[in-house]
C-alpha cells in the first residue's frame, strides 16, 4: 500500500513537471532551440527513433554494460585481495582513497590517449568512473564484519574460508550494493564523457553533435534516453539487492510496524 502510494505520487509529480514545462515553453514563447517543449522532444525522439534507438542507444548501452561488468569483476577481485593480504592492502589502499579526491573527469583524456577512439577507450573511461565506488564499498563491507560474530564463528572452529563465505561475504553485500548503485549511475556518465571526447556513435556523441547544430529537441531526446538508462540501471541494482538480501526487506517492514 505504501509502495503503491509512492508510485502514484511519483506519477503525479512527473505529470505536473511535464505540464509546467510545456506551459512555460508555450506561454512565455521560449525559443525552441533554447528549451523545446516536451511534446517536441517526444516528437523528435519518435522521428529519430531509427538512429537513436537502433544505433546510438545500443552503442552506449554496450559501453555501459561492458565497462560496469569489468568494474564489478575487477573491483570485487581487488577488494578480496586487499581483504586477504595485508601487503596488498597497505600498497593499494592509499590510491583508492586518493582516487576519491581527484577529479576523475580530468583523467578521461588520458585514457582516450591510451586506449584510443574505438570502443575500448569508452569502456576504459566507464571503468575509471565505476571502479572505485565498487572497490571502496566492497572492501569496507568486508572490513565491517561484526567482531562478536567473528569471535563466535571462531569458537565454533570455523576456518578462514568458512569465516569468509559464511560471515564476511554476506555481511558485505549491503555495502557492495550501495557501491554498485553509485557505480550504475556513474557508468552512464562515464560512457557519455568517453563519447564526447572522441566518437562517431553513441548517445553522448549524438547529443554533442545536436548541441553543436542547435538541434535542441534532438539533444533533449538523447538526454532523455541517457536519463532513462541511468534510472533503469539504478532500479535494476535495487531489484538485485532486494533479491540477494531478503532479510533487509523484513527488518525494514517490522521496524516500521513497531
Amino acid at each position: 500500500m505504501a509502495g503503491w502510494n509512492r508510485g502514484v505520487w511519483f506519477g503525479i509529480s512527473i505529470a505536473l513537471f511535464v505540464i509546467v514545462w510545456e506551459a512555460v515553453c508555450r506561454l512565455l514563447h521560449v525559443p525552441p532551440f533554447i528549451l523545446p517543449p516536451p511534446s517536441t522532444v517526444v516528437l523528435s525522439l519518435w522521428d529519430l527513433r531509427k538512429t537513436l534507438l537502433g544505433l546510438h542507444l545500443w552503442v552506449t548501452l554496450k559501453e555501459v554494460i561492458l565497462g560496469l561488468s569489468a568494474s564489478i569483476v575487477f573491483g570485487i577481485l581487488l577488494a578480496f585481495a586487499m581483504n586477504m593480504s595485508r601487503v596488498v592492502e597497505r600498497l593499494v589502499y592509499p590510491y583508492i582513497v586518493i582516487s576519491q579526491t581527484i577529479p576523475i573527469i580530468a583523467l578521461s583524456p588520458v585514457f582516450i590517449l591510451w586506449f584510443g577512439y574505438d570502443l575500448s577507450g569508452k569502456i576504459a573511461i566507464t571503468i575509471l568512473f565505476t571502479f572505485f565506488p565498487i572497490v571502496v564499498n566492497t572492501y569496507d563491507g568486508l572490513r565491517s564484519t561484526d567482531k562478536e560474530m567473528l569471535q563466535l564463528l571462531k569458537t565454533m572452529g570455523a576456518n578462514r574460508w568458512q569465516i569468509f563465505t559464511k560471515l564476511q561475504l554476506p555481511s558485505s553485500l549491503p555495502h557492495f550494493f550501495s557501491g554498485l548503485k553509485v557505480a550504475a549511475t556513474y557508468s552512464v556518465a562515464g560512457a557519455t564523457i568517453g563519447e564526447w571526447l572522441g566518437s562517431s556513435e553513441g548517445l553522448g556523441y549524438f547529443g554533442r553533435r545536436a548541441s553543436g547544430n542547435f538541434q535542441a529537441p534532438a539533444l533533449f531526446a538523447s538526454v532523455l534516453l541517457l536519463s532513462i538508462l541511468g534510472m533503469l540501471l539504478f532500479w535494476l541494482v535495487g531489484r538485485m539487492e532486494k533479491y540477494f538480501t531478503p532479510h533487509q526487506r523484513t527488518s525494514r517492514k517490522t521496524s516500521k510496524e513497531k
Binding site: 561484526d146 562478536e148 560474530m149 569471535q151 563466535l152 564463528l153 571462531k154 569458537t155 565454533m156 572452529g157 570455523a158 568458512q162 559464511k166 560471515l167 554476506p170 555481511s171 553485500l173 538480501t245 531478503p246 532479510h247 523484513t250 527488518s251 517490522t254 521496524s255
Partner: protein, 258 residues
C-alpha cells in the same frame, strides 16, 4: 572426578594490564557455575580463554581432562548480544555450528527443525532475527550454542538485555534445559539473584588481577523455581555475595567514584 574445565596457575594480561594471576578453577561434569563480579574485571576474557580465542601466558587450561592449545570448536558459546547473523533465518542460524563442522546443509537444518518445538520456535523457523523478540533471539542463540555438539556451554550475560518478565521466564527455561541436557554450564552475570538461582556454585571474581576468587556453594534444593528467591538460605547467600562485591568496590578507585 574428571574436570570438564580446569584452570591451573593461569596468568593472562592485556599488554601491561594484568587480568588473571595464578588463577585456578575447576568445574565438574554437569555442574552449573555462575561467575559474578564488577564490570571490566575480565569475566569475558575468562570465557575467551576457555573458548580458545586467547591463550594463557602461564599455566594451563584443560577441557575434558586434556590439555589442548587448540580449544576452538570445543565449547558452545552464547555471546552477550545474541550475535545472530541477520541474513540467516532461525533455522539457518541455529544450523551454523553444524555446517561449520561439515554436516551437510540439509541434514543440519533437519536436525534444527526437529529441535525447534522444544524451544517454542517451530512457528518461527523461517523468520529472520529482526522479526523475533529478544527472548526468542536468546533461545535461538542458546540452541545454536548447544548444537556446537559439546557439553560445555559458556553463557555470557545471556539475559542482560531482556526485560524482567522475559528474563524470569528464560531463567526457569534455562534450568530445565540444563537438567535435560546434562551439560556443564558456566554463566557470567551481573545479577546476584540470577547467579544464585541457577548455579551449584557462585564464583565471585574480584581484584586486578583476579587472583583468589571466592567460591560459594548454593545449597538450595533442586528443582528450583523463581519462588526459591525468598528462601532464607537464598537471602543469606545474596547478602554474603553483595557484601563481597561491596568490599571490593570500596577497595578499587573505580568503585569509589561510582
Amino acid at each position: 572426578m574428571l574436570d570438564k574445565v580446569a584452570f591451573s596457575g593461569v596468568r593472562f594480561a592485556y599488554g601491561d594490564q594484568p587480568i588473571l594471576q595464578n588463577f585456578d578453577l575447576r568445574v565438574a561434569k554437569g555442574e552449573f557455575i555462575s561467575l559474578i563480579g564488577p564490570s571490566g574485571i575480565g569475566k569475558s576474557t575468562l570465557f575467551q580463554l576457555i573458548a580458545g580465542l586467547l591463550q594463557p601466558e602461564q599455566g594451563s587450561i584443560t577441557l575434558n581432562g586434556a590439555r589442548s592449545e587448540n580449544r576452538l570448536g570445543m565449547v558452545g558459546y552464547m555471546p552477550q548480544r545474541d550475535a545472530l547473523l541477520p541474513w540467516r533465518t532461525v533455522v539457518e542460524n541455529a544450523a551454523l555450528p553444524l555446517e561449520i563442522k561439515g554436516v551437510a546443509k540439509k541434514e543440519a537444518q533437519d536436525r534444527v527443525r526437529s529441535e525447534l518445538p522444544r524451544y517454542g520456535l517451530h512457528e518461527w523457523a523461517d523468520a529472520y532475527p529482526a522479526e523475533l523478540s529478544g527472548g526468542m533471539r536468546q533461545r535461538v542463540s542458546f540452541l545454536r550454542a548447544l548444537l556446537s555438539d559439546t557439553d560445555i556451554m559458556l553463557l555470557d550475560e545471556p539475559f542482560s538485555s531482556l526485560d524482567g518478565i522475559t528474563r524470569m521466564e528464560l531463567q526457569e527455561w534455562l534450568m530445565e534445559m540444563w537438567q535435560e541436557t546434562g551439560s556443564t554450564m558456566l554463566m557470567i552475570t551481573h545479577d546476584i539473584d540470577e547467579a544464585i538461582l541457577l548455579a551449584d556454585r557462585v564464583i565471585v571474581l574480584n581484584g586486578k588481577p583476579i587472583e583468589k576468587p571466592v567460591e560459594l556453594a548454593v545449597n538450595v534444593e533442586r528443582p528450583r523455581t523463581t519462588a526459591h528467591r525468598n528462601r532464607a538460605e537464598f537471602l543469606a547467600l545474596r547478602e554474603q555475595i553483595w557484601e563481597l562485591l561491596r568490599q571490593n568496590a570500596s577497595k578499587s578507585p573505580a568503585g569509589r567514584e561510582a
